[in-house]
Amino acid sequence: MNPEMAFFYAVALLMIATAFGMVLARDMVHGVLFMVGNFVLTAVLYLLLNAPFIAAVQLIVYAGAIMVLFLFVVMLLGAQDLSLSEPAGGRRIIGVAAVLILGSLLTFVVKEGLPAGTAAGLAEERLPTLAAFGREGVEDPQSGAAFGSPQMVGEALYREPYHIVPFELVSLLLLVAMMGAVVIASFGKGGVAAAGPEQRPGEDSA
């Protein structure tokens, strides 16, 4: 086993451990911390795949921003005790089913490659294939940017019609969701206009 593989397996094992820790933690703050650890390790995986930009974004967005909000919600609501009182019920079966479906899909993709003709499949044809992952100096044939560099991610996102449309749609969806959250938060306090001094933006996001 070469050092890279050994490192990968160490990271992967730790990721599985933190995932279990997250689900099994009695205290939800501990659960959140396990999840942060899991996200950081995911960033390490991206680094192993020669995708430093995605790794940095993973750190900034998921581990650094979103999980902080999770932490805030858990701390403010004092939700530490909820986990034990709520029955899992039918969700357990749904959860197992979801895991099985996702697992088999991933196995299929890893074994067979992405189906040709779909957006992801086309991207894979143009980009160096999965087999080239982890090699130094792989370059995009069109722009000459290093694989996984910010330039290349940007070009793929903004210059490819397969990517720009879904990307913009997702950002629109997020905007709508954000406005919805503001509306929900300001109901019962006399609407948006009356939200005034006791409803500060910073506290909203918390």
């Binding site: 940095a56 750190l59 921003a65 902080v68 910010p150 506290e203 918390a206």
Partner: protein, 347 residues
């Protein structure tokens, strides 16, 4: 041993040695920042400041360190022990990690290796993003310390710090974006090299620089944005329950974070380790870099001595309603300016 691996091991060793040097320098820097701050504030308040321990009070940091070492380490019964121990470690680790990508000088020739030796620990494509990513973890140390202490004041301090840091992080990231757009690189070293070849970016990004400085003060929780530890209302905020060396870790993290944002300000806006029109040897680079960091620290202390603390709602309003829109305007203006320039509108 596999012969292919030997260069890798040397590179690793070099990185470890550089890391040790930087950590040593940061801890010394922390110690003398406290001395510097006391001395400057004292002068601004027409006092003498530290003057008993050693000449000009220069041994005061050592005396402080010894005192903190021998203080009783109190662990309140109601704390969440694991996280209570973890929180100061997170703060300190994050503060030190962030400095890894700061460029302190041009790559230089050294007798013991082929090629040039990179001053500073690392330089890579997405160094700036790495720095933002790592510093966004600082909020965990503080928020967790507040929560784990199981104390109302500590929790409020921790939450305030968290909300404040997230709010100002946005404006900070956007204020830096203008620089990145102009240089076209996220590598701090390349940003400095660009400024050496052209002009200090503070001249092209004056608004970005001002926003960066304000958000940097807020991100490091310094006066006038030191709400998380506002002593009149929160005792000592998130570190109320911390004593001895654990408290010292938070203290160190705060000062090292200050050193880092000063170094980053120098690298992004003030030409980094370079002086316009002068080519310096590596120790000259280092000295210029140090000088800029010290100047930055002086501004920190100056502002602390001058400005009263903001009210919490003013702070949030200012972050979201003034700084964030301004930084977005700055990004758009920079984009338009760049597009015009690249199409030759300015000749």
């Amino acid at each position: 041993m596999n012969p292919d691996l030997t260069p890798t091991i040397w590179i690793l060793l070099e990185a470890v040695v550089k890391g040790a040097i930087v950590i040593g320098a940061l801890l010394t820097g922390f110690a003398y920042s406290t001395w510097f701050e006391r001395k400057v504030i004292a002068r601004m308040q027409v006092r003498l400041g530290p003057n008993k321990a050693g000449p000009a009070g220069l041994l005061l940091p050592a005396a402080d360190g010894l005192k903190l070492f021998f203080k009783e380490n109190i662990i309140p019964r109601a704390v969440d022990k694991g996280i209570f121990f973890l929180a100061p470690l997170i703060s300190m680790t994050v503060a030190v990690l962030a400095f890894a990508v700061i460029p302190v000088g041009d790559p230089t020739e050294v007798p013991w290796r082929e090629g040039l030796l990179q001053l500073g620990i690392a330089d890579f494509d997405v160094a700036l993003l790495y720095l933002l990513g790592v510093t966004s973890f600082a909020v965990y140390g503080i928020a967790l310390a507040g929560w784990a202490s199981n104390n109302k004041f500590a929790l409020i301090g921790g939450l305030r710090a968290g909300a404040q840091m997230i709010s100002y992080e946005l404006a900070m990231g956007l204020s830096i974006l203008g620089v990145v757009m102009i240089v076209g690189s996220l590598s701090l070293h390349e940003i400095v090299v660009w400024q050496k070849a052209h002009v200090w970016l503070v001249l092209l990004q004056p608004l970005g620089f001002v926003i960066y400085v304000i958000t940097a003060i807020a991100e490091t929780n310094r006066a006038p944005f030191d709400m998380p530890e506002a002593e009149q209302e929160l005792i000592a905020g998130y570190h109320t329950e911390y004593t001895g060396m654990r408290f010292a870790l938070f203290f160190q993290a705060e000062y090292i974070a200050m050193l880092t944002v000063c170094a980053l300000a120098a690298a992004l806006f003030l030409g980094g380790y370079s002086l316009p029109g002068v080519e310096l040897p590596w120790f000259g680079d280092l000295a210029v870099f140090l000088g800029k960091v010290i100047a930055g620290m002086f501004v920190f202390v100056w502002i602390r001595a001058t400005m009263p603390r903001l009210r919490y709602d003013q702070l949030m309003d200012f972050g979201w309603k003034v700084l964030l829109p301004l930084s977005i305007i700055n990004v758009v203006a920079t984009a338009v300016g760049l597009a015009l320039y690249q199409n030759g509108v300015f000749g």
